[in-house]
Amino acid sequence: MSVPPVLELEGLEIGREGDGAPIVADLTLSLAPGESLGLIGASGAGKSLSALALLGLLPPGLRARWRRMALAGQRYAAASAALRPLRGRGIGLVFQEPLAALNPVLPVGFQLAEVLRRHLGLARRAARAEAAAWLERVGLAPPAAFLGRHPHELSGGQRQRVAIALALAPGPPLLIADEPTSALDPPSADEILRLLVGLARERGTALLIVSHELELLARHCERLAVLAEGRIVESAAAAELLAAPREPATRRLVAARLGPPPRPAGAATAVAPEPLLRVRALRVERRARWLRRGSPPILDGLELELRQGEALGLVGPSGSGKTTLARALLGLVPVAGGSIRFAGSELAGLSPRGWRPLRRALQIVFQDPGASLDPRMQVGAIVGEGLRIHGIGRDAREREARVRAALAAAGLDPDCAACYPHELSGGQRQRVAIARALALEPRLLVLDEALSALDAALRRDLLALLDRLRRELGLALLFISHDLAATAWLCERIAVLEGGRIVESGPRDRLLAAPAHPVTRRLLAAAGLA
């Protein structure tokens, strides 16, 4: 290679001050000018810390060392003061959570102009003009409409666009994007990465994208590097790495991609002819606020049917009303109109007393297991709460046995009944939430983005668990997600929600092969299925 690399990093080591065990051990990496490299690894592998270490911005208590680090041929020592000149000018950084990374009280135009004045020495007016040009470059047009806005007045995707402009504006030779899309829904994530790669290529900026989403990285980066146990275990061109993973860690990552759906999906269980759940013309309105009447309803004219033993996938972009539908089905938000018939009973407008006997048969698993488990209760008490409420089981012994059985059915060690939620990992917590629902022996389980917070390997395990529960217990599943790939893996029927109504629904294969609605096509493209 005749051109010197933009970044040469040799033997990066990050550890806690004092004790030994390093979080990142011996990380070596190099990027050619204009190259795009995807750095992939499981959560907790130290990807984000490595990015921060290059700028001397590690959180207090952590130390970084390296044998050699050079940016554009210039060597730097691993000390905060030595790295300060690199910030902005040498390395641009795009953070995971754009709302948290932008100053909430300053207009985005101000923040952009500030960076331009600092690094390019522009005068006030020139900086403002250049800030407008940058907003246009990242697709926020007309810039005049965005300059004066504050971060909270922008959507998640727009904020990330601003963050990209902020990072690229000083013209750094290297841009590091740390999980730039994990706060976004798949269609916006795809657009953001395309923008990022496009801008970097156009300006000759080398790009290092850190993420745990293999699919997304493989689609947008030229080269992939796999981080495991604190070091790069494998690095190759994207297509090559996917086709022929060499190292075990890489193989695990590639294997966690969802394979072909288990088929024939419906054959194992006999699907009942009568629907278990039938939703007709469902309407849910926004909570009425004084002087704010007349805003459109969240759900309007929604229709849905689900049989015993069937898994129905419900997909849609954020804000389409998915979560509201889940909550309306469970009577957690008031229904303004329409009908929900479940196992022969009408749920719409049911009194709390009328709901109680039905609660057993209709259970839900929420998105964030960290939030849906009471932090002050032990796992056994959490899973057993429903049993006590409904008076299931003759005595404490029998209830305990049921709790243990439910934990085992959710793939957990029954002895973890004595744990508190914060002692468990994210995947284990979500299994507890599933066990809590299973303990009541429900007929229908609603999963509201239940797997979205988990990384790929865990997601795959839990999908397999859900599929097994459906087959073995004849459970009906309503799988609500923005992740079309996972939905297509689990569900033989898929419905697409947009603007509070179902815009398209049908068998999975038909929907994947011939999507009719533009929203469906957009979701397919974002999931890499089109």
Binding site: R327, L332, R360, Q363, E385, H390, C419, R436
Partner: protein, 281 residues
């Protein structure tokens, strides 16, 4: 699955040095207030005309006041009154403010809104003014003082509890309990109250010093606790009048008052740090 993951709030509290010290000081002050008058042969009420405004001496460790009453006995008595006022105001705040805030937050909607408007209106009134007016107008009765202070301090607690209830109500573990079929009573008692206890405790740590300040201020103005009862504020007032020739009459009550307020302050700080999982242990 390591069990030694996060220390419990109680462990965190015990590790908080300032809070531990504050708890000790508070215990010592309480003991002094309770035990000094019965145990020592000193009378807070009867004047000793032979020994007017004497500086601290073995017979009168804190000296005497302008009419020869023993200041140690008077300080202990004043401290007891002040602690009593603080304790009863805290109790009143808990008994009224906690249910009020919980209910307003849980019910929400127009009823919860109305409940909070009442709190807003009461809080918009300059309370100190009304208290002065009340005491000046209806005579300086101790029950009235308790009622006036208690009627004011529950507002803060109600507001804090309501805000926390509002956010907890929408949390997924509460929704999950509802989805399990848990009754409102069960959710309030089993899931919400344990979460609210911490915030309420911290709020009390702010409310109690405020009550003490208000009471001492009213007593300083001569509107609070009346003779023969006396509170620290009243003693400071008496001491301030003679400070040019008997500074000890100001120094001892003022010192105890400041020590009490400081101890409560550090206690509240320790509670807050212990209950906030983000703060370093």
């Amino acid at each position: 699955m390591s069990r030694a993951f996060a220390p419990s709030p109680w462990q965190r509290f015990r590790r908080h040095r300032a809070a531990r010290g504050a708890l000790l000081v508070l215990a010592a002050l309480t003991l002094f207030a309770l035990l000094a008058p019965p145990l020592l042969p000193l009378d807070p009420h009867s004047p000793d005309w032979e020994r007017i405004s004497v500086p601290p001496e073995p017979a009168h460790p804190f000296g005497t006041d302008a009419i020869g009453r023993d200041l140690l006995a008077r300080t202990a008595l004043g401290l007891r009154t002040t602690l009593l006022v603080a304790g009863s105001a805290a109790l009143l705040a808990l008994l009224v403010g906690l249910p009020w805030g919980l209910l307003a937050g849980w019910v929400g909607g127009p009823v919860g809104g109305l409940m909070m408007r009442i709190v807003d209106v009461l809080q918009a009134l300059p309370f100190l003014f009304l208290a002065i007016l009340l005491m000046a107008v209806f005579g300086r009765r101790t029950e009235l003082l308790f009622a006036a202070i208690g009627g004011y301090v529950w507002l803060d607690l109600a507001r804090i509890v309501r805000a926390e209830t509002l956010s907890l109500r929408e949390r997924e573990f509460v929704l999950a309990a509802r989805a399990l079929g848990a009754s409102t009573g069960r959710i309030l008692v089993r899931h919400l109250l344990p979460q609210l206890a911490g915030g309420a405790l911290v709020a009390l740590g702010v409310i109690v010093p405020k009550v003490i300040l208000i009471e001492s201020f009213l007593s300083y103005l001569g509107l609070g606790i009346q003779e023969p009862m006396v509170s620290l504020g009243g003693l400071v007032h008496e001491g301030a009048q003679d400070m040019s020739f008997a500074p000890w009459a100001l120094a001892f009550p003022a010192g105890f008052l400041v020590a009490l307020l400081l101890a409560l302050h550090f206690l509240a700080e320790g509670l807050r740090d212990a209950l906030d999982p983000r703060s370093p242990a």
